[in-house]
Subunit: 161 residues, 2 copies
C-alpha cells in the first residue's frame, strides 16, 4: 500500500504523515490497544486506538469503540474530554444526565464530573476523544459515592459497575 505512484515522489514522507483508514475503523500504523488493563476498573468490550499524537501537539486524539452491550468505566478526573461520535449510536451519563448520542454528535465532559459511555444493545459506538496529553488519572467511585448516585433512579438504571 505504500508503493510510490507517479505523483507521489516522497514515499518516506507519505508514510510519515498519512495513515489510511481501512474501511473498518482501523488505520495504517495505528495499534489496536486494550482500553485499560483488565481488572483495573469495571468496563466491558472497549478498544482504544491513538489516532493523533505528536510531540508538538498539546492534545491527543483517541478512538474508542464500544461493542454492542458494552460500556466504558464510570469515572471522573480533572481533565476534560472533547468527544465526537464517529460510528453508530449509544448513550452516556454526564453527572446525573443521560445523553442519547448519534453519529457526529459532540459531547464535552467537564472537570470532575462522573461519566460513562454505553453502546446500544444492538449497535457498536465508536467515538473520538480529545484530551490534554498531560492529564490526571481517572478516579473510580467509592461505595458511598455509588450509593449516592443511585439515589437518582435514572442514574441507577444507567450505570454499569
Amino acid at each position: 500500500m505504500m508503493e510510490p505512484s507517479g505523483d507521489e515522489p516522497s514515499p518516506g514522507l507519505e508514510a510519515a504523515v498519512h495513515r489510511r483508514h481501512d474501511g473498518t475503523f482501523r488505520w495504517e500504523q495505528v495499534e489496536m490497544l486494550a482500553y485499560k488493563q483488565e481488572g483495573s476498573a469495571p468496563f466491558r468490550d472497549v478498544t482504544r486506538q491513538v489516532l493523533i499524537n505528536a510531540p508538538e501537539l498539546a492534545c491527543e486524539l483517541r478512538y474508542f469503540e464500544i461493542a454492542p452491550g458494552g460500556y466504558s468505566t464510570l469515572e471522573c478526573h480533572e481533565h476534560v474530554h472533547g468527544v465526537m461520535i464517529l460510528r453508530g449510536r449509544g448513550s452516556c451519563l454526564v453527572d446525573a444526565t443521560v445523553l442519547h448520542l448519534d453519529t457526529n454528535d459532540l459531547v464535552r465532559v467537564p472537570p470532575m464530573t462522573w461519566h460513562q459511555f454505553r453502546a446500544g444493545e444492538d449497535e457498536a459506538m465508536g467515538f473520538l476523544c480529545m484530551v490534554n496529553t498531560a492529564r490526571d488519572r481517572p478516579i473510580l467511585p467509592t461505595e458511598e459515592e455509588l450509593s449516592a448516585m443511585r439515589q437518582n433512579p435514572v442514574v441507577a438504571a444507567f450505570i454499569r459497575h
Copy 2:
C-alpha cells in the same frame, strides 16, 4: 430540541455539554464561520466551524469543509495540524508530496511544511483539524518560494494560488 424528557433531568447541563449533529455537517450551537477574511489569502469555497474548544483543553478541534473544486490556502507555520477526513474525498499537498485522501484518513502536517488541501472536482471534502490553541500565524509563500515549488511538475500541477 432541548426540552427535557423523562430521563433527561438536567436540560441545563444537556445544553451545556451536548451539541447534536443535524445530519448535514452542521451542529447545534456551533457557528458557521468564514475560513479566513476574504482577500487576506488565496482560497476558494472553504467554511470553518469550531467543534471543540474549552478553556481546560490545550487544543481546538475545527471542522473545515471545502466545496467541490475548492481549495485551502497554500501556507506553512510552526504549529502542527492533526487532520482526519470526516466527509468525502480530496487531496492535499504536504511539502512536495500529493496525498489522495479518503473518508476517515489521517494526515499530520509537520512544522514549517508547505501544505494545501483540495476537494475533488465533483465532491466536497470535510475534515477535522486539531491544533494547539496557542499557535503562530500562517505564512504565505513569496514569489520566489512559489517559483521554487513550481520547479517540481507534480507540485506545479497541484497548487492553486
